[in-house]
């Protein structure tokens, strides 16, 4: 970096920190969320009642069309060939047999691919969404084992797959960093979204050394893959210089912009749709396959469908990085924390944006006299690691919450009691007030329902024949996020129907169902009078389905658009309406129209307002305010996780016999789909605890288990009936009072399991997954 750039970066940093301070100190009422969303007070609507998914019938009939199921005239099928070395250059690349094979339309390699700009890397621009920023098939360089080296297009998938198998490459190898221990010799401090992953308050090491009670241990977690059951896929076509892509993505607008940068065209020339996504979990963003398929379609002049094989997903789409974490806690005799140290190293590639930020949950978890938090990065040559459900918190809470349990044993205290004694009154590292934090209530309700009082503190005390039974608990935590860029359009027609249009996503979260219910309540309409349009980059808003923020992002945008719509309606209503003289803040949606908030009798229907104004429809498209609330308040969801395990004393077999999640996430909009999200997160957490591991060959840098047969995820038999409860206390500063539920479920689970295993067996497992060999 030049001196000028350094100075500019410093000046920007200084300006940002001044701005941040100003937002922290501003009066509440100036900020988004400063006045509670009026919907929080509404008690008789659809929000809070269980509603079945509105796309449910389509899905159970097999009629919901996913990205690989959109038919296009004259379409060809794509297959990829992948590199077999981790670093170096392609020396020879023989594609003659492939080109001559039956049905083959095109073989594309770096030699004939169109010239493309590198894809914009996540977090480098508002709509950048690529997992890495390496050139895509532009030269002979190999950056990871599994990098695509050729694309075959053929009339059928069988022909394309066969031809791809005929491609022969030879390579000149270069030295590759594929061993973690060696890579660790040269680490650097990580930064995430422009913020260093480093925080020191006081002298934590000194406080730790002086503390009368302490725990100091190392915890390790392996690589993970998302493994959405839907394979990554895109069906796409060029119309002139415009690209239309039916993608499996959790970021339609980001993908449109990012692809436009790659192909050197305008954003408006790329249209991305993705109405049904077969699971995402952070993995369904922009990777090379969409770019390669679009480039090949351009060369061949034919529409293309690309569906990665399951192995292809492992080779070409990154997963979660491995971590090695030290957690040390120093405590007084009464259990009060003097020091929290959470440091360690993660693996990461040189060309990506995510050092697995395992310290995030620790920043707001407990009050302590001093902190030392630090994520070091060891660079490796591998597929770019990326965001996977609760990046940071999922694995970070394993280490932190295991350590808290270890300290409770050392102190002879109940682990819940130890946590409650260290409950912070304000954000312990940022100093900002919590917007709403009810973890104590979540623990109280969870412990009572789970029967925590029946647990023996002595490991191995409960036995049923060969089976040792233990209970454990841990805290779940995930922050409230709302990313900039949200916008929505509300269109009300004279028949009293409303259409909500937002470029949001449905990967199974129940987005359309939840937002239809919210819009129905906000406008005072029945559910069947609401249409939710989404998953199309041509719609308003830049709404990432990530960071558990989609509901907040859409919610804030709809609040803003609704305000504008009501203002317009009151203008149209004029002086002859019962609403005459009222302002937008004075009225609410009620019974198919507007009424004075505290006087429901003063009411006029939308149909009547529009009819008198001789209008067919009225529409408002508005952007959400910037998400300053997250700088003014410390906004986090929490949960108390309770687990009961049975460990076979003879074989080491480990079974989860009971699990309960007690959550504090603000308003629960749809209890039916929210409970599913919580359970789904917990089940992925059970996978993290029990079985999941992407095995990486440290000699070749190649993933050794790129399949669902060898990468194990939880199956029906691994999962007990999971009990879910919540506080349902609205967050006064979040849209609808809701903080998001998508990711918190995976956090805390691995620690709850490990702590239960300790309670059952006396064995402390600090290395995930907890497989039976570690229990023998």
């Amino acid at each position: 970096m030049s001196v000028v750039q350094d100075a500019a970066a410093l000046a920007q940093g200084a300006a940002q920190s001044v701005m941040k301070k100003a937002v922290e100190l501003a009066p509440d009422s100036w900020l988004p969320g400063g006045k509670p969303d009026p919907l929080i007070r509404q008690k008789h609507g659809l929000v809070g009642t269980p509603v079945s998914r509105i796309d449910g019938p389509l899905k159970v009939k097999g009629a919901a069309r996913f990205a690989a199921e959109i038919p296009l005239e004259n379409m060809v099928y794509a297959a990829l060939a992948h590199s077999t070395i981790p670093r170096g250059r392609i020396v020879t690349l023989d594609v003659a047999s492939a080109e001559a094979a039956a049905g083959v339309v095109l073989v594309m390699t770096y030699r004939n691919a169109p010239r493309l700009q590198p894809p914009p890397l996540f977090l480098t621009a508002a709509k950048a969404v690529s997992g890495d920023n390496l050139p895509v098939m532009q030269d002979a360089e190999i950056h990871w084992n599994g990098q695509p080296i050729a694309v075959v297009l053929a009339e059928t998938q069988e022909q394309a797959d066969h031809a791809a198998s005929l491609i022969v490459a030879t390579y000149e190898r270069a030295p590759a960093r594929t061993a973690f221990e060696a890579a660790k010799a040269d680490t650097a401090s990580g930064s995430f979204g422009g913020e260093p992953l480093l925080l020191e308050i006081g002298d934590a090491e000194a406080a730790l050394a002086a503390a009368p009670h302490k725990i100091d241990a190392t915890y390790t977690t392996p690589r993970h893959n998302h493994n959405a059951i839907e394979l990554h896929a895109a069906t796409l076509t060029w119309q002139g210089d415009d690209l239309i892509i039916h993608d499996a993505t959790q970021a339609v607008s980001h993908t449109a912009w990012s692809l436009a940068q790659v192909f050197g065209i305008r954003e408006a020339q790329v249209r991305v749709t993705s109405p049904y996504v077969g699971g995402g979990f952070g993995g369904k963003t922009l990777w090379q396959h969409q770019i390669l398929a679009a480039a090949a379609a351009r060369l061949a002049g034919r529409p293309v469908r690309i569906v990665l094989s399951r192995e292809g997903v492992y080779r070409g789409v990154g997963g979660r990085s491995m971590t090695e974490q030290r957690v040390a806690i120093g405590a007084q005799i009464d259990g009060g924390f003097d020091a929290i140290v959470h440091t360690g190293t993660v693996a990461m590639t040189a060309n990506n944006a995510l050092p697995e930020p395992f310290i995030l949950a620790t920043k707001a978890a407990y009050a302590a006299g001093s902190f030392k938090l630090d994520v070091q990065v060891a660079e490796m040559d591998m597929i770019a690691n990326t965001f996977m459900r609760a990046p940071g918190e999922s694995v970070g809470t394993f280490a932190l919450e295991s350590a808290v349990d270890e300290l409770a044993v050392e102190l002879g205290l109940d682990p819940i009691e130890l946590r409650l004694r260290n409950e912070p009154e304000k954000d312990p590292t940022a100093g900002t007030p919590f917007s709403s934090r009810n973890l104590v209530e979540a623990y109280r309700a969870g412990a009572e329902r789970f029967g925590w009082a029946t647990r023996s503190a002595t490991p191995g005390a409960r036995r049923d024949g060969e089976w040792l039974i233990g209970m454990g608990c841990a805290t779940a935590a995930y922050p409230y996020h709302r990313m900039p860029g949200g916008a929505a359009r509300l269109t009300l027609t004279k028949d009293g129907r409303v259409t909500v249009a937002v470029a949001a996503h449905e990967m199974g979260m129940g987005t359309a169902t939840a937002h239809s219910a919210i819009a129905a309540d906000r406008l005072g309409l029945p559910l069947d009078q609401v249409t939710f349009e989404y998953a199309d980059s041509a719609l308003p808003g830049v709404v990432l389905a990530g960071g558990s923020q989609q509901t907040a992002s859409v919610g804030a945008a709809v609040i803003a658009a609704h305000g504008a719509l009501v203002t317009e309606l009151l203008k149209l209503a004029g002086n002859d309406s019962p609403l005459a003289g009222l302002k937008a803040d004075d009225v609410a949606g009620y019974d198919g129209g507007l009424c004075k908030r505290d006087e429901p009798g003063r009411h006029e229907t939308y149909a009547s307002i529009l009819s008198r104004a001789q209008r067919d429809q009225v529409s408002a498209e508005v952007a959400a305010p910037p998400p300053l609330e997250v700088q003014h308040w410390s906004m986090h969801s929490h949960g108390a996780m309770f687990c009961e395990v049975r460990v076979n004393a003879v074989t080491g077999e480990l079974r989860i016999s009971r699990f309960l999640g007690s959550f504090d996430c603000g308003t629960i909009i749809n209890p039916k789909t929210a409970a599913s999200q919580f359970r789904g997160g917990i089940i992925m957490g059970l996978g993290l605890a029990l079985m999941e591991e992407t095995q990486f060959d440290e000699r070749s840098g190649r993933i050794m288990n790129p399949s669902l047969a060898e990468y194990h995820i939880p199956v029906h038999m691994d999962v007990p009936a999971i009990d879910i409860i919540w506080t349902d206390i609205p967050d006064p500063h979040a849209p609808m009072g809701a903080r998001g539920v998508g990711e918190i479920g995976i956090t805390g689970v691995a620690a709850a399991v490990a702590n239960a295993v300790f309670n059952a067996t006396g064995k402390r497992i600090r290395d995930l997954p907890i497989t039976l060999d570690k229990l023998l």
């Binding site: 998914r53 449910g56 199921e69 038919p71 998938q157 569906v307 399951r310 979260m509 997160g681 009936a721």
Partner: protein
């Protein structure tokens, strides 16, 4: 080649290498059956052949001429969803919906296996009638993966449907 799918006779000029799954999805436009791994590990492609559940990704289409193939598109009744499909919606037995067709077809085949007395790994009394309790259902459905984690809802839906049917 000639096939019978959901009671209808259909013809397709597919490759000898074409799997039954690709026949359904790419040649017949029946995209309800899903591809999640193409190697028999996830169960998303489960269909019924002469009433028995199979992984259609591991079956060559050419071998299934003259057999009665039922896909998820064939489960709904003329007047709407089958009781099992309706129970999946009611119990939220899915999130993204991608593994759902396989779970549904698998459940239909599984219930028939139990009726015929086919034991599972957790069946304790091989001589007695099989009772589809929680463990039997979970064991017998374990070939169908769901990454969203809708397992509780799926088992509740299957249990309600077949407990009702038996009553």
């Amino acid at each position: 080649m000639h096939f019978t799918v959901n009671g209808k006779q259909v013809e397709a000029a597919c490759d000898l290498r074409t799997s039954l799954l690709d026949l359904l999805r790419d040649y017949l436009g029946l995209t309800g059956s899903k591809k999640g791994c193409n190697q028999g590990a996830c169960g998303a492609c489960t269909v019924l052949v002469d009433g028995e559940r199979i992984n259609s990704c591991l079956a060559l289409a050419v071998q299934y001429q003259g057999r009665a193939i039922t896909t998820v598109e064939g489960l709904a009744t003329a007047d709407g969803l089958s009781p099992l499909q309706a129970a999946f919606v009611e119990h939220d037995g899915f999130q993204c919906g991608y593994c759902t067709p396989g779970q549904l077809c698998s459940a239909v085949g599984m219930a028939d296996e139990a009726r015929r007395g086919v034991p599972s790994n957790v069946t304790e009394d091989l001589a007695a009638d099989i009772v589809l309790d929680h463990d039997e259902l979970r064991e017998r459905m374990s070939g169908n993966l769901c990454r969203c984690g809708a397992y509780n809802g799926i088992i509740a839906a299957i249990s309600e449907t077949y407990a009702k049917a038996a009553a």
